[in-house]
């Protein structure tokens, strides 16, 4: 994929793409894989990172950027899987996600909790979006399942829309 035209972008605008997941867990690696693709595009004003999970030190980075896109695997099964789910690009503001943080039994956070952390501690939260890519298997392995691999093209299209602010 060729780098996109970025002539509209001003130097001060920073967009952050965060791919979440584990590349050794089959379809869970789809987020990091796409984030690494974005990094390889070398777009000015765009920072991209692949992380195994969201942790609190990301909050100041969120507070410092204008827009953020979280890319995550979305485990579909049963009804969802039979409906051949496609990648979903949604504004996090529009989603009615739980405002509560996840159990403190765990070390990970959620996009919504991280945004709240950014706002609560640093007084700012960026415009936030979530790209969820259907995942069909999370077993140990470095390859995406054929069904998830097939979603890479529409996922890249959604990414392009977001980066071009067409979303």
């Amino acid at each position: 994929m060729a780098p996109m035209e970025r002539s509209w972008r001003s130097g001060s605008v920073v967009e952050l793409v965060i791919g979440i997941g584990n590349r050794l867990r089959s379809d869970d690696g789809v987020g990091p894989r796409l984030a690494e693709e974005v990094e390889a595009w070398g777009l000015s004003g765009v920072e991209s990172m692949a992380v195994p999970q969201l942790t609190p030190e990301l909050a100041p980075r969120l507070a410092a950027c204008a827009r953020v896109l979280f890319i995550d695997a979305w485990l579909v099964d049963g009804v969802d899987a039979s409906a051949a789910a496609a990648p979903l690009l949604e504004s996090l503001e529009a989603l009615e996600l739980s405002a509560a943080p996840p159990s403190r039994f765990s070390h990970h956070s959620t996009p919504q909790a991280l945004l709240q952390l950014a706002e609560g501690l640093y007084g700012q939260r960026p415009e936030a979006w979530w790209l969820r890519v259907p995942a069909h298997g999370l077993e140990l392995g470095e390859q995406l399942s054929p069904a998830t691999a097939a979603q890479l093209v529409p996922a890249r299209r959604a990414l392009r829309c977001w980066l071009d602010r067409d979303a």
Partner: protein
């Protein structure tokens, strides 16, 4: 879920099911006897990890990168244990600068991991109170109560993460440590940058220490006695001169009275003193000290164990804190609530260690990797992860392909202690008729003392809630509680 039935005099079971996909599946069950008293409690891990099998057939040179990717929580620990195992398969002594750089990364890792555990996962319990609204007893409640403390935790995390990234490259799982050494020497300018940040980090750690010590002395008296306070063995690495150690040294095991059972043991001989028991209700193994058997031989690892095992830390600020810890808890501290205090002391030790390493001209050496072919077919590597001692044991063929892998992780070694901790807390707080918030909060907090990591994991969107169920004597569901 076992159904209570007093008429048949059968045991009853209360099940607490905290599950998030990210760190594997786990649940807690509390087993009651016919009189409604807590008989025992179990911390179950119900997801098979299977990493050892996944690694078979791969070149051992890939193990550092693979095992680091397995765990999103402490990748550096796996990276170092794998690299150390690889060193021994090559049969090389790594360049002095490489060892100093590996040590530097491990100190950064311990520092940032402990910061997450204390500031964001555990401090809301201490500061906001066990019985405060669970919806507020979290990092957001902490922000409201003490935003500077919350920001401080993030600053420490950033400091450690930035140092790891500066050493190993931007990606957290970069295979920077390799068999024979590390891939790159110390980057220009990094030393000055890190040293410049240290005063702020010391101030953060010392403020947290002062706060937590005050809480331990005033508000947490009961918890000190109830949260995993029992005699046990402790195991970890100790330097040859009795100093606190996190990378080298030998294995030491002490008992609850401080008597040394094993000292200076090479990791190569770990199997001569450690065996792994299995239980049908958990995929997590239960390592134990062989001569005493699975129960009496169970031991604890991690920050508290390391501080119990060493004679001294070897740096002035941390040694002062170690003396205070022993004044509070004794020479061998048995209460698991002290794990939190030990974490804070280790943060200070890590900061002092980072300062000393960066001021050592030897760390700037440019020769950082020894190269060789496979010269041994079996090796064991060990490092101290934030949560405790981590063993990697590989057997390879003549081409260096992995034939067999055994990983002994810190959380597994604390497994029996976590079960005992939950049992102790349940016995103290379960009233037999109601699964109270007070109990749930404290059971969770008891487990958090060990900062367990079952990571190994996936992070697909969505998570499962904490599910708590209580069944009545007639087998009917009396109460169900779900936490998001």
């Amino acid at each position: 879920m076992e159904i209570p039935n007093p008429e048949t005099n059968q045991p009853r079971t209360v099940l607490i099911d905290p599950v998030t996909r990210i760190e594997g599946h786990a649940k807690i069950s509390i087993h009651l006897d016919a009189d409604g008293q807590v008989e025992t409690a179990r911390f179950h891990v119900v997801e098979y990890r299977g990493f050892e099998t996944f690694c078979e057939g791969r070149p051992f040179t890939e193990m550092a990168a693979i095992t680091a990717r397995i765990c999103g929580i402490c990748p550096v620990s796996h990276l170092l244990a794998a690299a150390k195992t690889g060193d021994k398969l090559l049969a090389v002594t790594i360049p002095p600068a490489a060892e100093k750089l590996r040590r530097l990364m491990n100190l950064a890792q311990i520092c940032q991991s402990h910061a997450l555990s204390f500031f964001h996962l555990s401090s809301p319990d201490f500061l906001l109170g066990w019985d405060s609204d669970p919806a507020k007893r979290n990092v957001f409640g902490l922000i409201a109560a003490d935003p500077e403390l919350a920001r401080s935790g993030i600053r420490l995390r950033q400091f450690g993460q930035a140092l790891i990234e500066a050493l190993g490259g931007r990606k957290i799982h970069a295979a920077w440590a390799v068999p024979g050494g590390v891939r790159a020497p110390l980057a220009e300018g990094l030393k000055e940058r890190v040293l410049g940040q240290l005063p702020e980090m010391f101030a953060i750690a010392e403020r947290a220490l002062a706060l937590f010590k005050q809480l331990m002395d005033t508000k947490l008296g009961e918890e000190r006695e109830v949260f995993g306070s029992f005699p046990s063995l402790f195991m970890g690495l100790v330097g040859s001169d009795g100093r606190w150690e996190h990378y080298g040294g030998g294995l030491r095991i002490i008992n609850a009275e401080g008597s040394v059972l094993v000292d200076g043991l090479s990791e190569d001989a770990y199997a001569s003193v450690i065996a792994e028991a299995v239980e049908p209700w958990s995929y997590l193994k239960f390592p134990y000290y062989k001569p005493l058997g699975p129960e009496a031989g169970s031991y604890r690892v991690g920050p508290l164990a390391r501080l119990n095992l060493c004679e001294r830390i070897g740096t002035p600020r941390a040694d002062r804190e170690l003396i205070e810890l022993r004044q509070r808890g004794g020479r061998v501290v048995s209460g698991s609530l002290y794990y939190h205090l030990a974490r804070l002391i280790e943060i200070v030790a890590c900061l002092e260690g980072i300062e000393a390493l960066l001021n050592d001209p030897g760390i700037e050496g440019r020769h950082v990797r020894a190269r060789a072919s496979v010269n041994a077919l079996e090796a064991v590597g060990v490092s101290e992860a934030p949560r405790g001692t981590l063993f990697h044991h590989y057997r390879v063929d003549a081409n260096g392909l992995i034939e067999k892998v055994n990983l002994i992780i810190a959380t597994g070694q604390n497994n029996r202690a976590m079960n005992r901790t939950v049992t102790q807390i349940a016995r103290h707080y379960l009233d037999g008729a109601h699964l109270s918030e007070a109990l749930l909060n404290r059971v969770e907090a008891g487990i958090r003392c060990y900062d367990p990591c079952l990571s190994c994991s996936t992070h697909a969107a969505g998570s499962m809630p904490l599910q708590v169920r209580l069944y009545g004597a007639d087998g009917a569901l009396v109460e169900e509680r779900i936490r998001g």
